[in-house]
């Protein structure tokens, strides 16, 4: 079981309020990603759930039990840290066995569980090595092994992939997603990378300045952002925003449209501009078009498009896919 409920969770560091008040209900077996810009309080929220930070106010309830004042050990959660946080003086075997040893499990049972975890993570050849002799990806696997070995009620991941190179990151992302499907245990995953969030999560919590802006499925967030912040944060490249008479036309304070919902033409269109950056990625081409009327707009077109730096183009949004926002930033 791993149902985690946050009730009016509040956290201050000295006089600085980091998390004003957060309510969340994370269902058993769910993969939830906390995402937001640096300093939005996502890691703090995770550490509060872990018990590594004390609550200033509110309650944390795991499987119906109020654990607000319990030590990390009593909460039966496992955590994977950004820096892996392996014990450098212990072999891989001892690292994975450590939580079981702390739980006072008999040695033969520990051996069995460690072997099982090592096999599932392809670590059997490295059991007698110390972490210093492993590559980044292997270290990450050991950290995951140490987490899964004692079958916790939930896993907490604190930006676990940010120290890996791009290719390995994609692999590990898939491995963690597979692990979730296999174990069906609740996972809470913190990242600032919205691609990770979109690809891994069942539901995403978008945080800003310690507040939950939106809690929903990845496609909900993409299709129905509740406010301008979520609209701008989810999606890559970012949504374009336009104010003024163009927005008035749609009866809104501000309108937004995603780069993929725009058309580019060399002959006619809504706004005329000059290409200031052309990013040819192969499959896609991102154009940064500097217009006189509405500033720089980013478009996403087919990789085949033959437009380069300095060219004059016309861009138009797909009017069916326009997001409207009020003066308070909320979606209309």
């Amino acid at each position: 079981m791993g149902n985690i409920v946050l009730e009016k969770v509040h956290k201050c560091f000295g006089d600085v309020e980091v998390i004003p008040s957060v309510d969340l209900d994370i269902k058993d077996g769910e993969f939830v990603v906390f995402v937001g810009p640096s300093g939005c309080g996502k890691s703090t929220l995770l550490r509060l759930i872990a018990g590594l930070e004390d609550l200033t106010g509110g309650k944390i309830i795991i499987d119906g039990v109020d654990v607000s004042d319990s030590t990390p050990a009593k909460r039966e959660l496992a955590m994977v840290f950004q820096s892996y946080a392996l014990y450098p003086h212990m072999t891989v075997r001892k690292n994975i066995a450590f939580p079981l040893k702390m739980a006072g499990m008999p040695q033969d049972e520990i051996d069995k569980k460690v072997m099982a975890a090592a096999e599932s993570l392809n670590l059997t050849d490295y059991l007698e090595r110390t972490p210093g002799l492993l590559s980044g990806g292997q270290r990450q696997r050991v950290a995951i092994g140490r987490a899964i070995v004692r079958s916790p009620s939930a896993f907490l991941f604190d930006e676990p992939l940010s120290n890996l190179d791009a290719a390995l990151r994609v692999n590990m992302r898939i491995e963690i997603t597979d692990l979730h499907k296999e174990l069906k245990t609740t996972m809470i995953y913190v990242t600032h990378d919205q691609v990770e969030a979109m690809t891994m999560a069942d539901r995403i919590v978008v945080l800003q300045a310690g507040d939950v802006e939106q809690f929903g499925t990845p496609l909900d967030l993409y299709n129905k952002p509740v406010n301008r912040f979520v609209a701008g944060f989810i999606g890559s490249p970012k949504m374009n925003f336009v104010k003024g008479k163009d927005a008035d036309e749609f009866d809104a304070h501000e309108i937004g449209f995603r780069p993929e919902h725009m058309s580019v033409s060399t002959t006619k269109g809504r706004w005329k501009g000059v290409v200031s950056v052309a990013e040819h990625l192969g499959a896609d081409t991102f154009l940064h078009v500097k217009t006189d009327e509405v500033g720089t707009l980013v478009t996403r077109s087919d990789g085949e498009i033959n437009v380069n730096y300095g060219d004059t183009v016309y861009v138009s949004p797909n009017t069916d896919k326009i997001y409207r926002f009020g003066a308070d930033g909320l979606a209309l």
Binding site: G51, P72, A78, Y87, P88, M102, R146
Partner: protein, 275 residues
């Protein structure tokens, strides 16, 4: 641009280093040499480099005074105070390194400031306190005093080593179910072992060589080797070669220890200087 190191430069620096090393070692060398001279050779002017070596001084010193008793006292005082200090310093350095408060830096500064006062300034109060407690000229009294005197340095050293340990690793152990003492025993101490070892060695050396307090607070019973040396500069006159023999015997154990642990000492003292 990389700095060019010419052969001449290298040779020059090597020669300079050897020269400085020899100057530093010379007093010890001369002391050992003198310990093998007769009293007359020892005060000869100009000083003698070649002479008839003799073991006489060592025999006399050993016969005259109970070297083993002094040696035993030194071991108990230096060893006891070091172990006691580590027992106090490890938890305090741990709490200051991993749960610092706004005043941690001030506490550390205050502890260090106690080392800035000349010891003689507190001699009388400490003497009186030990007297009232009945601890004058006892090994227990000296163990406590030596522990207190070196504690600031030990805490500072350990604090510096502990600061180098990423707190995430300790948090990981907490998540893995380690209670406080298990966190310290299974995770912190093994990781800080090089630092703790060099702290222990340095403190042993400091406590072994400490003369001010040992000379002032001991008489016959608890006197360590420093008092043993001092007893050879007596009102009856200076006996250079006997004093040298006594000194050589007093510093020999700690020299041997230092020689074998020099690598550990250097690694420990430069720990964290280079990432």
């Amino acid at each position: 641009m990389a700095r060019k190191v010419t052969l001449q430069r290298k040779l020059g620096f090597t020669a300079l280093a050897w020269f400085l090393g020899c100057i530093m070692f010379f007093p010890i060398f001369w002391m050992i040499l003198t310990s093998f001279k007769t009293e007359i050779d020892a005060i000869a002017s100009p000083p003698l480099v070649f002479f008839q070596a003799t073991w006489e001084n060592y025999q006399l010193v050993l016969n005259q005074s109970d070297y083993l008793k002094y040696f035993g006292n030194s071991v108990v005082i230096a060893g006891g105070s070091t172990i006691l200090a580590l027992l106090v310093a490890i938890p305090s350095a741990w709490s200051m390194a991993f749960s610092p408060t706004r005043h941690t830096k001030d506490v550390l500064m205050w502890m260090l400031s106690t080392k800035m006062m000349p010891p003689v300034g507190v001699l009388v109060p400490i003497y009186l306190m030990l007297k009232y407690l009945g601890l004058l000229d006892t090994r227990t009294g000296l163990v406590i005093i030596m522990m207190l005197i070196n504690l600031p340095i030990i805490i500072w050293m350990l604090y510096t080593y502990f600061k180098e340990i990423p707190s995430e690793i300790l948090e990981a152990s907490r998540m893995d179910g380690a209670v406080l003492w298990k966190e310290i025993v299974y995770v912190l101490l093994p990781m800080a072992l090089p630092g703790i070892a060099s702290t222990l060695l340095l403190n042993l050396i400091l406590a072994w060589n400490e003369a001010f307090w040992t000379l002032n607070l001991t008489a016959a019973n608890a006197a360590p080797l420093t008092a043993f040396i001092a007893s050879y500069s007596s009102p009856e006159g200076l006996f250079w070669s006997k004093l040298s023999a006594a000194s050589t015997m007093a510093i020999a154990p700690i020299m041997v220890l230092g020689w074998f642990s020099q690598k550990q000492l250097v690694t420990g003292l430069t720990f964290g200087a280079v990432k």
